[in-house]
């Protein structure tokens, strides 16, 4: 590539009363650009994230490493990441459309490969999936054939890892969980209500129930009775 000659002289002219600042030549410009790429990579791409990592892990070690939940010393998941609950004795989360990490097929709540359906509102596959989920939710929870189902239980989340369900969706599962675990429905309902996350600052977001936390509490309840 031939570089065009710079219109401005790179060398300062003879001394003048008003010092004229010479414009950088094209070569000088390219060199400065390369140096800028290196410097800003070092400052913004390495120093800044590494410093943030250090500060974050000193101040908030639990959150910085993924808000992991432990039971008996074993990591059982993250408080922020949903899990695929299928056993009837557990509170169930929302439908998840994540795939296996190698993309070979569906694997709900794969926290290595977040994903969504991306079905449009008039896509027949969305309608079919919603119908199927509504039918099985009603059957599992002893609802009438035309009972409306909380919308979050018939739709897949954006991340495929939604840790929460609506309060309505959690309460609708009370009877089934109580029956499976042979406890009073009121006990399950009280446990769900005790695990409702309120709106941030009392204003932002929606009230919801963290599925994994409820299920840990349910297991603790059952273990206490045994």
């Amino acid at each position: 590539m031939t570089l065009p000659t710079n219109p401005e002289p790179a060398v300062p002219g003879p001394a003048t009363p008003e010092p004229v600042i010479p414009a950088a030549s094209l070569t000088q410009l390219l060199r400065s650009a390369a140096l800028a790429a290196l410097l800003f990579t070092a400052v913004c791409g390495l120093a800044y994230p590494l410093l943030t990592t250090l500060a974050g892990n000193v101040l908030f070690p639990a959150q910085a490493t993924g808000s992991l939940l432990l039971r008996g010393g074993q990591v059982v998941g993250s408080a922020l990441i949903g899990q695929d609950f299928t056993t009837p004795g557990y509170l169930r989360g929302r439908p998840s459309q994540t795939n296996r990490t190698d993309g070979s097929g569906p694997q709900p709540y794969n926290a290595e490969n977040s994903g969504a359906s991306n079905w449009g509102p008039t896509n027949a596959r969305l309608r079919d999936a919603a119908q199927e989920r509504a039918v099985s939710f009603r059957a599992d929870n002893g609802l009438g054939a035309s009972a409306p189902v909380p919308v979050d239980m018939v739709t897949a989340s954006g991340s495929g890892l939604d840790p929460d369900v609506s309060v309505a969706a959690a309460l609708a599962q009370t009877g089934r969980i109580a029956r499976e675990r042979a406890v009073a429905p009121a006990q399950v309902e009280a446990l769900i209500r005790a695990n409702v996350t309120r709106r941030s600052l009392g204003v932002l977001g929606e009230e919801r129930v963290n599925v994994l936390r409820v299920n840990l509490a349910l297991d603790a309840l059952s273990a206490g009775r045994r």
Partner: protein, 574 residues
């Protein structure tokens, strides 16, 4: 035609609360920006930087010089980052052992982050090592956003005409914005995000033993440091594939509101800084008012559309109503913690501020909700990100002055400078490059069977997927109707070109306009001068913006979201 379900009081309250906080930040942050753009003093780290870069911070640049420096600086960074992405397997911090991206995907990624589009044809946790996420993506999030603000600073100085034909020094603008604005704010915001649950670690993926006795592998990483600059710089590229819908990027409604405030912070404050630079604060407020009005209308429409729900889901048995125990609405592709209100807020903000991150899947928005996001990117002037929103909006200010001048038969003036043929031609080049890229590439894609093979949805919605892809790329937004499989050679190449067109064919002509205006002598305002700092003129500009936008894009919107909406109302599926 009102939707069947109206938003609840809680939904409306939280949106008004966030907007109020955003509006309160305009003046203090605007003052800060004004100081960054005009202050004479260089701090010690800045002086050291100029020495290391071997640049003279006192070198004045006219618009040609400024543009040349900007383009060369971007070009070199593009080459360096392309190389780093391709060399990923041989570089450190790659605990998952990820391979290099293919050449055309790496081109797409590098162009995308350089142009501040942050279009992602790949899934972050599957494709980029921690090193690439930090050294390439995070770096570009700083420099590309700072490049936009530097251009805006130069542009505003040109219009203010305070220093003859000189627009300032690119290196000074770039360095100051990074050091004085982005680095301190990003660090502080990242710490708040970590407190709320966003991970920040170099640890590898964690394996959990689930309650049902299965294993769940949980991807982690240095997420918070990327998230904060991602929104402050209105970049938008996510650490994870599902972006800010992923609980690790956006764990609580508080982080969601913080993300939104970060996106709006600098674009809104820039209008105030502009007013101060012009020594005409009314002008700044008129621009802010016009943008804010458009934004509020978009937000309201999005909220109504999503809360109204989807009749197809209703017929399938879903209860989409607002009750004491659920927020209701169209929840496909949305997260429960955000519900419809925080989702509408995020979607409206990300497409107004040209960020491009998403906290819900836009592909699964209702047709009218999707239409609002498209329209904001097509207008490309509702706040806009990293300085270019103001530049784009000025196109329409100049166009409005020109039209008003034609109506009354006077030579139009803008900020005391005569607007003549050259300026109007350059403005029209910028105004036309945008739809040409969007509609041209869309038309090309829908005629190629290979390109249509990438669609995830049939019918009108499939057309919208393609339209959205090129709108987003050209507007340097980066969000997607993500069902479209964009990681094909055709889309990687064409969206890359659309991003370059959208970035440089508006930035460079408008810098030229600023340079030309700066060189003109100021004409004193007379009795016949059309004042541009009045609400009347603000309204006129909004009208011009909407008319030009409608004339350009209505046919395409009718084929896509409007048709989709009518089908949805009938409950028809494809």
């Amino acid at each position: 035609m009102l939707p069947a379900v109206l938003p609840g009081v809680g939904a409306v309250t939280q949106l008004l609360a966030v907007l109020a906080v955003s509006a309160l930040l305009v003046v203090p942050v605007g003052r800060l920006l004004h100081g960054v753009f005009t202050g004479a003093r260089h701090t010690a780290p800045e002086r050291l930087t100029y020495r290391l870069l071997r640049v003279n911070p006192a070198e004045p640049m006219d618009w040609r010089r400024y543009a040349l420096t900007l383009v060369l600086c971007n070009l070199v960074m593009l080459l360096v980052s392309y190389a780093l992405i391709r060399l990923q397997p041989w570089l450190p911090w790659n605990p998952a052992g990820l391979a290099a991206q293919t050449p055309e995907l790496a081109w797409n990624t590098a162009v995308s982050f350089m142009t501040n589009t942050n279009w992602q044809a790949y899934s972050g946790e599957q494709s980029l090592s921690y090193f690439s996420q930090m050294a390439v993506l995070t770096t570009f999030m700083f420099t590309s956003a700072a490049t936009g603000f530097a251009a805006a600073a130069a542009f505003m100085r040109g219009l203010a005409g305070t220093n003859g034909a000189q627009l300032g020094n690119f290196w000074v603008d770039l360095t100051r914005i990074v050091y004085r604005v982005f680095l301190p704010l990003s660090f502080a915001v990242a710490l708040i995000l970590i407190w709320q649950g966003v991970p920040q670690t170099l640890n590898a993926t964690v394996t959990a033993q689930t309650l049902q006795g299965e294993t769940q592998r949980i991807a982690l990483g240095p997420v918070a440091s990327l998230e904060s600059i991602k929104h402050l710089g209105t970049n938008g590229g996510g650490f994870f594939g599902m972006n800010a819908a992923h609980p690790f990027e956006n764990p609580t409604p508080l982080t969601n509101a913080l993300h939104v405030l970060c996106m709006l912070l600098l674009p809104t404050s820039l209008t105030y800084a502009f007013g101060r630079l012009l020594a005409n604060r009314r002008q700044g407020w008129v621009i802010f008012g016009a943008m804010f009005t458009l934004f509020a209308v978009s937000l309201g429409a999005l909220l109504l559309a999503e809360q109204g729900g989807n009749p197809v889901l209703g017929a399938a048995g879903a209860d989409q109503s607002v009750t004491a125990t659920q927020a209701g609405g169209n929840m496909e592709g949305k997260e429960v913690r955000f519900g419809v209100a925080q989702t509408a807020l995020f979607a409206a903000t990300t497409t107004a501020a040209t960020t491009g991150s998403v906290n819900a899947m836009h592909d699964s928005l209702t047709p009218l909700g999707g239409l609002v996001t498209l329209v904001q990117m097509m207008l490309n002037s509702v706040f806009g990100g990293k300085g270019v929103g103001l530049i784009n909006f000025t196109q329409y200010l100049i166009l409005s002055v020109f039209l008003a001048g034609l109506m009354v038969g006077r030579t139009p003036e803008f900020l005391g400078k005569k607007i003549e043929a050259r300026e109007v031609k350059l403005v029209m080049l910028a105004v036309l490059a945008h739809p040409l890229s969007i509609l041209g590439f869309t038309a090309l894609a829908v005629t190629l069977p290979a390109a249509l093979g990438s669609l995830n949805n049939p019918g009108a919605h499939g057309f919208t997927e393609v339209l959205y892809a090129y709108t987003s790329a050209t507007a340097n937004n980066g969000s997607a109707f993500a069902g479209l499989n964009a990681n094909t050679p055709f889309y990687n190449l064409t969206t890359g070109l659309a991003m370059l067109t959208g970035r440089y064919l508006t930035l460079l002509p408008m810098l030229a306009v600023a340079g030309l205006l700066a060189a003109k002598t100021r004409v004193p305002a007379g009795s016949g001068t059309l004042r541009t700092d009045t609400a009347l003129f603000g309204g006129l500009t909004v009208a011009v913006l909407l008319i030009v936008g409608a004339l350009t894009f209505l046919p395409a919107l009718t084929l896509g979201p409007v048709t989709d909406h009518l089908q949805m109302l009938k409950g028809a599926v494809q």
